[in-house]
């Protein structure tokens, strides 16, 4: 059948795995995720805002996606035996503080070298700016600062109606207690306004031992006020709609995928004369 780069329903996704030049570490992380049962992995690169790096001219300074990961032969054989498919995508997270950052976001959206585009706003102004852009994820990371901005319920409802989700990272919570308190506070605020349907959980793991299984991650979203019925949606259903949104952003108004299907043995392709009249190709209108 068709070989689209889209996951099936019911596949567990992890959409934020930081990847650097250290290829051995990323390979170990990807292999640990495969052994835990995940089906979609997105390797992310960071882009800091202009207040830290200073003004840069030209598009040559934009970061490039990392080269693809090469897995061990054992893991590949195991995947073949189980008939499992694992998608590895690329993602970029952009910090937004000025108007220049908004210009960067628009130019990166046009380039389309990355599969998923995520944004981390730091002000109320930037949050209003990114509300209308065709982004996939809004990152709500309160890593080392106080809460950057307080989102209002009306704005959250408008954003969720367009299938854009709010993302939280769970491995900083495991590392530090103060960050755990802040992320749970933010998560409660966001889940209140959207009735618990707009939360996405992903790892920001630096080391393979900070990753957790998919059901554990779903149970962690219960701390943020999500009901037990919908706890697993934060890893399954919401993540899948983000991947589909990213795929449709690259396509035009409609897309056609043409694929050559292999013939079964013993059949011939019927010519135009063998078909009944209603199915014949009529060239003269």
């Amino acid at each position: 059948m068709l070989d689209l780069r889209l996951p099936d329903h019911g596949v567990y996704c992890d959409l934020n795995v930081p990847s650097d030049n250290n290829t051995v570490n990323t390979k170990n992380k990807v292999q640990m995720l495969i052994s835990l049962g995940y089906g979609v992995i997105a390797l992310s690169t960071e882009m800091p805002s202009t207040t830290k790096t200073g003004k840069t001219k030209g598009k040559e300074n934009y970061p490039q996606p990392q080269p693809p990961v090469v897995l061990d032969q054992d893991v590949k054989d195991q995947l073949k035996r189980d008939k499992r498919r694992v998608l590895v995508l690329t993602r970029i997270t952009i910090e937004m503080e000025n108007n220049e950052d908004a210009i960067k976001v628009r130019s990166i959206l046009l380039n389309s070298k990355f599969d998923i585009v995520a944004v981390r706003p730091k002000n109320d102004k930037m949050f209003l700016n990114c509300k209308d852009l065709p982004i996939d994820i809004i990152c709500m990371d309160s890593a080392a600062e106080k809460m950057p901005f307080i989102p209002k319920p009306n704005l959250i409802k408008q954003v969720v109606g367009r299938n854009v989700y709010f993302e939280f990272n769970y491995s900083p919570m495991i590392r530090d207690d103060v960050i755990m308190q802040r992320t749970i506070m933010n998560g409660l605020r966001v889940a209140e306004a959207g009735k618990g349907k707009n939360v996405l959980l992903s790892s920001g793991a630096l080391v393979p031992m900070e990753l957790r299984g998919p059901r554990d991650v779903g149970n962690m979203s219960m701390l943020m006020g999500v009901q037990q019925n919908r706890a697993i949606d934060s890893v399954q259903k919401n993540a899948r709609s983000v991947v589909v949104h990213a795929y449709t952003r690259v396509t035009a108004k409609s897309a056609a995928v043409i694929q050559y299907s292999p013939l079964e043995e013993g059949t011939k392709r019927s010519s135009n004369q063998d078909l009944p009249e209603a199915k014949k190709v009529k060239l003269n209108a």
Binding site: L36, Q78, R81, Y170, M173, I174, D177, P208, M209, R212, G213, R215, D216, V217, N219, M220, M222, L223, Q228
Partner: protein, 178 residues
């Protein structure tokens, strides 16, 4: 008499190196769980979880743990389990226990059931899957017979301590199912 309901959580202990062997003690597992639940849910959360807390089954070779909780408080336990980072563990051939911080590990929950029978079924299917995976990696018949022997000796999920209350639970569940 009001019927007491329980939930059984089946989890796998994952270490950094899957091929090394560690001796895991059920009392240490309970100590870790109580420490984590106080950190996340406070003293009142710990009080509820600690009523019916018991480790029913622990296999050091397959690293499976079966934990029992009262059903009103199983959500508190489930939401606090992912935050476990280390566990004090005994190395084979060494008299003293390892450092008080312990070895880096985490718990991966597999399923949550309401009776011990369902948990035993899942343990059996999990064991079959790992056995199939190991047998497909073997290349000679000697290795295959070795693997089958080890699994037959060390996997005995039926030998669990079952109380009278749990037997009544299972009988009522069967009657309701019919």
């Amino acid at each position: 008499m009001v019927r007491l309901k329980h939930r059984y959580v089946l989890a796998e202990v994952k270490f950094a190196d899957p091929k090394k062997f560690y001796h895991v003690n059920p009392h240490r597992v309970i100590d870790e769980i109580t420490g984590i639940v106080t950190k996340v849910h406070g003293i009142s959360g710990l009080a509820g979880v600690k009523i019916g807390l018991h480790v029913k089954y622990l296999n050091e070779y397959s690293k499976l743990v079966l934990i029992r909780v009262r059903s009103q408080y199983h959500q508190k336990l489930l939401s606090a389990l992912p935050f476990i980072k280390t566990m004090p563990v005994k190395m084979p051939g060494v008299k003293a226990r390892s450092a008080p911080e312990g070895v880096a590990c985490f718990l991966n929950t597999i399923c949550v059931t309401s009776t011990i029978k369902d948990a035993q079924k899942r343990i059996r299917t999990y064991g079959k899957r790992t056995m199939d995976r190991l047998l497909s990696e073997c290349k000679t018949e000697e290795e295959r017979t070795k693997v089958c022997k080890v699994f037959a000796e060390h996997s005995q999920p039926e030998e669990m301590e079952v109380d009278e209350e749990e037997l009544e639970d299972e009988k009522e569940e069967e009657e309701n199912g019919k």
